[in-house]
């Protein structure tokens, strides 16, 4: 059974085709990463899945129901939650209130009930607060509950955003570059956290530039280039895929060697020192990919 199915999705901006007939599936309980050079269409794809952008063609199916053309809030209610490339917190609120907004779709009192505090409303409010605190605790930021969201560090903002997304009790979590802007230690914590999230039954689809994180974390990887899928498979398959290597390095294909692996995984094996990759044509170099 597949949780999310993207079928032949296409989207162009003016003359530029950002996503070109992309089809793939996300299986439940897995961590799937979408990688690719800048401008490959990763974020566009994410925005289509989460409803911020409309696809020109193709359709998206979630839990065997079509969510094509749904508005963002409808997609969120279907069980897909997301984070943004730049943590997009509500800065007028404190940290806890931010996460409490995530409980919105899990609560239902409307204007009249809230104005008049009708029976059950204060109780619902308490349960929202408790659930939000639990999520904050889960990402390790419970001590910042009363802190204004605007005063957080970048890494903390990411974590609060993650807690907010988790507070919706999603079945599928979309993470748009969760590791960007984090330091090494924060990245390690993030990796562990995402794995814990998967282990509690939430499927994760992420876009990420940091190859160390991607290779370390993902169960499956999808490689996008110029809006089309050029490879899909396990981290090991991707690392030895000739297409991927030539796309990322802009070089002629050679069997996967130490250099490419090092560049892809971000690790620096000793053998690499002094080795050079000579680009034979001026292809797109994924700057983030070889960071």
């Amino acid at each position: 059974m597949t949780l999310l199915e993207v079928n032949d999705v296409r989207r162009s901006f003016g003359g530029l085709v950002a996503v070109n007939r992309v089809s793939f599936q996300v299986n439940p309980g897995r961590i799937k990463a979408v990688i690719g050079p800048n401008g490959a269409g990763k974020t566009t794809l994410f925005n289509i899945i989460s409803g911020l952008l409309k696809a020109d063609a193709g359709h998206v199916t979630f839990k065997d129901c079509s969510i094509t053309g749904f508005k963002p809030y409808q997609i969120a209610r279907a069980g897909i939650s997301r984070t943004f490339q730049n943590p997009s917190l509500f800065f007028q609120m404190n940290v806890l209130e931010n996460v409490m907004v995530g409980r919105h779709r899990r609560s239902g009192r409307e204007f009249a009930a809230c104005c008049l505090r009708l029976p059950g409303q204060p109780k619902e409010e308490r349960s929202i607060r408790e659930a939000a605190l639990a999520q904050l605790d889960y990402v390790g930021l419970a001590h910042l509950a009363g802190f204004p969201a605007g005063g957080l560090s970048f890494g903390q903002r990411r974590m609060v955003e993650l807690a907010r997304a988790l507070a919706t009790d999603p079945e599928l979590l979309l993470l748009d570059e969760p590791a960007s802007g984090l330091n090494t230690r924060e990245k390690e914590n993030l990796g562990a956290l995402i794995r814990r999230i998967r282990d509690r039954g939430v499927t994760v689809l992420l876009v990420e530039h940091d190859m160390t994180v991607v290779m370390d974390l993902s169960d499956d990887i999808l490689v996008l280039h110029n809006g089309t899928i050029i490879a899909e498979g396990s981290p090991a398959t991707i690392q030895s895929d000739p297409n991927v290597i030539s796309t990322y390095l802009g070089g002629e294909f050679r069997p996967a060697g130490e250099v490419e692996l090092a560049l892809l995984t971000g690790r620096q094996p000793d053998a690499v020192t002094g080795a050079r990759v000579v680009p034979t044509r001026s292809g797109p170099v994924g700057e983030g990919a070889v960071r």
Partner: protein
């Protein structure tokens, strides 16, 4: 003690109302309560605007028009003579239900009019429909489309009111009867009922403040604030942003119309100036001067400034004054003057305390 803390501001407000009355009585200026009562009704408009602008982040330049819709609907229905329909069956049925009542007009002739309560409900219904029609298309879009739509709408309402004989054209409508609310309470401008009406208006404001405070401290309030802060992220959290913006706007328009109904019965009439764009801009200026997202700041500043305006302090520069206030706030204190003032007082006290105990600093 901490459990009671949210109630302190409300108690303080009630206390201020009482203190205001006793001060004016002691000064022998109890007639000033009339302007204070009118200011309290105007404050209801601004409180509603506070919800739309301060929380949902949408600008409305049409609240004067909604105030006028409320006021004019109830004024027309309670002064217009419907006696020519007396023979009709529906008129008899409405009379049975006390929705139609017999009144005296200005010259003492008996006329058949709609009862104030029924007129109030009709005004609310009219506002509900009109506000939904204005808000629905404008609020589906991101950005300040509501401001433009409501500005145009306000101008139309003003011109209609000014050019229609039924609405009294430039003279407005006079001779609006008292409104017997029940429980022995009457909305009326009679001087014998001045104190009663002052407390009635104050109590109405207080009740609305409690309701809105509850709303703001709930999932709805957070959703509105989230829309204000980051509409995209709010949508991704499952909030139907268009629907919530619309509901907040309609609720706020209803508050404005309600204030208009009470105001019209209190002053015994309504004129076209209430529908003018000047008034709508004034409400925005008052909301801004109270800090937009602060119910208390907005209530306080709006009551104070409207009172001063009604007492004629700004003379013929009345409207210019509110324009100037808006400019000053936007350029000098976008969060309203109260917050910076509060912070300044705090730091001033802090410095005073430190100066008094220099050994504390050294330690």
């Amino acid at each position: 003690m901490t459990r009671l803390r949210p109630f302190f501001p409300f108690a303080l407000f009630a206390l201020a109302l009482v203190a205001g009355q006793f001060t004016l009585r002691a000064m022998g200026k109890e007639y000033c309560l009339t302007q204070l009562t009118m200011s309290l009704y105007y404050a209801i408009v601004v409180i509603g605007l506070c919800l739309v602008m301060g929380y949902a982040g949408q600008v409305s330049l049409g609240h004067g028009a909604f105030f006028a819709i409320g006021g004019y609907t109830s004024a027309v229905l309670t002064t217009h003579d419907f006696s020519r329909f007396n023979a009709a069956a529906w008129a008899g049925a409405l009379r049975q239900a006390h929705l139609l009542v017999t009144n005296d007009d200005l010259y003492g002739n008996p006329i058949v009019t709609v009862s104030p309560w029924a007129a109030f409900l009709a005004a609310m219904l009219a506002t509900l429909v009109i506000a939904s029609l204005i808000g629905y298309p404008a609020l589906r879009l991101k950005g300040h489309y509501l401001a433009m739509a409501t500005l145009g709408f306000g101008l139309i309402v003003y011109k209609i009111v000014l050019g229609t004989a039924l609405f009294g054209a430039a003279d407005g409508i006079n001779g609006v009867p008292e409104w017997e609310l029940g429980f022995g309470l009457t909305v009326s401008g009679r001087s014998a009922l001045r104190v009663e009406n002052y407390y009635l208006a104050g109590a109405l404001v207080l009740v609305l403040l409690v309701l809105l405070r509850n709303l703001i401290h709930s999932r709805i309030g957070r959703a509105l604030q989230a829309i204000h802060d980051r509409e995209t992220a709010a949508g991704a959290m499952g909030i139907n942003t268009a629907a919530y913006k619309l509901r907040a706007f309609v609720l706020s328009a209803l508050l404005a119309a309600m204030a208009g109904v009470f105001f019209t019965h209190y002053t015994g009439g309504i004129g076209p100036s209430e529908a003018s764009a000047f008034k709508s801009v004034r409400y925005v200026a008052l909301a801004a001067s109270g800090g937009m997202a602060s119910l208390w700041g907005v209530t306080g500043m709006s009551t104070l400034l409207n009172y001063l305006s009604l007492r004629g302090l700004f003379g013929s520069y009345d409207n210019a004054m509110f324009g100037a206030i808006l400019i000053l706030i936007v350029s000098l204190a976008p969060e309203g003057p109260l917050k910076p003032l509060g912070l300044w007082i705090q730091s001033w006290f802090g410095r005073l305390r430190r100066e008094r105990r220099p050994e504390h600093d050294a330690a």
